[in-house]
Amino acid sequence: MFLAIKEIKHEKLRYGLIIGMIVLISYLIFILTSLALGLANSNTAAIKTWQAESIVLNKDANISLGQSLITKQQAKNIDLTKDQAYVGQSSVVAKSKGQDQISATYLGIDKNQYLYQDLKLTSGHKPTKSHQVVADEKFQQSGYKLGDQVSLNSISKKYTIVGFTKNAKLNVAPILYGRIIDWQAIKGMGPNLVASAVVSKTESTKISDANLKNYPIQSFIDKLPGYSAQNSTFTFMIAFLMIISLIVIAIFLYILTIQKIPNYAVLRAQGVPAKTLINTTISQSVILVLSGLIIGTLLTFLTAIVIPTSVPMSFNIPLLSLVAVGLLITSVLGALVPIKTILNVDPVDVIGG
């Protein structure tokens, strides 16, 4: 530790540059992880707020909410308790005078069921009447206000925004929660339909209809359009980035060590134990990587403050800590690569004369 710190203090520029490199690498990984998580969140945020464990869909709907329909007939075969709720889904384009159009998902919910009752608002009130909606904060961020009249698709009768809520995003689109009694009209289907699906807080819902099927919520999430593909793309990107960063950091630490061989040779000639040299090397890389990570974390927090809300970013502290610990461990492993070189330093090669 003594040698490690003294050397860093004396070689400020060299070690400063290395810390700078680690800052950039960790910053890049943190931001990318947060972006990936942000995107994943905007796919599933609403589902999380539902606290759903399972979902009942039409068995021919390919686990897609948009394709699933439940008829009145089928609905009779579903055993609804307080843990189940109807959802009527329809893709809509919302527009309002003087505002940008927003592609959204209309979800009709039943005021006697848990989804409606558990709905948490950031402002306004829940839809008490037909033609009222609660909108995701995305609408607010785009300039929509309480009381705004919104037309959905080309339906002539307008809807009024009576409340706003957070985290109401499904498959990246913001949600408009409305009364399920309005849903059929928006969906443009006959009156024989009850809902698109039944979500449930329990692991499964009792159904006695061959055309309906229970799915665990995770299967439903995995089948959200693009969701799995995005996730695996990001996972691979981050994994490759981590591996390449490891190699880059290891190479830097290796070059650093090679440059120090004359110093190590002196120490070996003086009989300084190999253990001391290894401790120095490891504590030096821990100091470098830790300082880099700390600055990288600060930069990430700054970014989190200034980044526009339109960029979906989610800063998950446990996950980022895990990434940081991973970087630290891999860097220490990287620093261990030249250990053999250190142990085999031949003082004579350097000192000669």
Binding site: F2, L3, K6, E7, K9, H10, E11, P262, N263, A265, V266, L267, R268, A269, Q270, G271, V272, P273, A274, T276, D346, P347, V348, V350, I351, G352, G353
Partner: protein, 228 residues
């Protein structure tokens, strides 16, 4: 029992056509209380001899004994301990760590060898004699060649080893300082009963030596003209 004994040491580098025979059948002895000078021109094999003696490299054949113990029987760790506790090296170059001040070079020695180093009083005497007492907060790069060498000598003596091996310790010193260093090494050998081997081409040190060996083209002979 001689403190240092080399018997039939040979050292070759390289193979076949590029093979160079640097040391030829070297026999050498040094005892406690003696200051031994090994004189030879550049390239004669002085540094090679000294590093083999101190266990920094191994001979191609022959054996080095320190206190009757053959070095080739010691493992790396034991050699390390030997260098830490029993041998003080003053090397021809690169003796100091560039990122430690002079003071910290000694502090490092304290950290790796916790006991048996010079007491404060004796350390003060040492740095006074070497004239480095006002250099304590400087980095090696801020010192002249001679100052560097004097600090290196102090560093080697600091751990109070019984054997001191010095390679050209006076190369960058003026004559007055050479006399002081020569005097100091000699009294160290006498008063503190150390075995001191100095390899050099600096004839100014001749007056202080108890015995002198000459080395030319890797062949060592004892110089009897100076015996007293």
């Amino acid at each position: 029992m001689p403190t240092i004994k080399l018997s039939n040491i040979n050292k070759t580098f390289g193979h076949d056509l590029s093979k160079v025979h640097v040391l030829h059948d070297i026999n050498f002895q040094a005892n406690k209380g003696e200051l031994i000078l090994v004189l030879g021109p550049s390239g004669s094999g002085k540094s090679t001899f000294l590093t083999i003696t101190g266990g920094l490299q191994t001979p191609s054949s022959g054996t080095v004994f320190l206190n009757d113990e053959p070095l080739n029987q010691l493992n790396k760790k034991a050699l390390e301990q030997l260098r830490l506790n029993n041998i003080g090296f003053v090397l021809q170059s690169y003796n100091l760590l560039p990122y430690l001040t002079v003071k910290e070079q000694f502090e490092l020695a304290d950290r790796v060898k916790k006991t048996g180093n010079l007491t404060d009083g004796r350390f003060d005497d040492l740095i006074n004699v070497l004239g480095i007492d006002d250099l304590m907060n400087k980095y090696p790069a801020e010192l002249s060649g001679g100052q560097n060498q004097r600090v290196a000598i102090a560093r080697a003596l600091y751990t109070d080893p019984e054997i001191i091996l010095a390679d050209e310790p006076t190369a960058a010193l003026d004559t007055a300082r050479v006399d002081e260093v020569g005097q100091m090494l000699k009294s160290l050998a006498k008063d503190r009963n150390k075995a001191i081997v100095v390899v050099t081409h600096d004839l100014r040190l001749k007056n202080y030596a108890d015995r002198i060996y000459n080395i030319i083209d890797g062949k060592m002979t004892q110089d009897t003209s100076n015996m007293h």
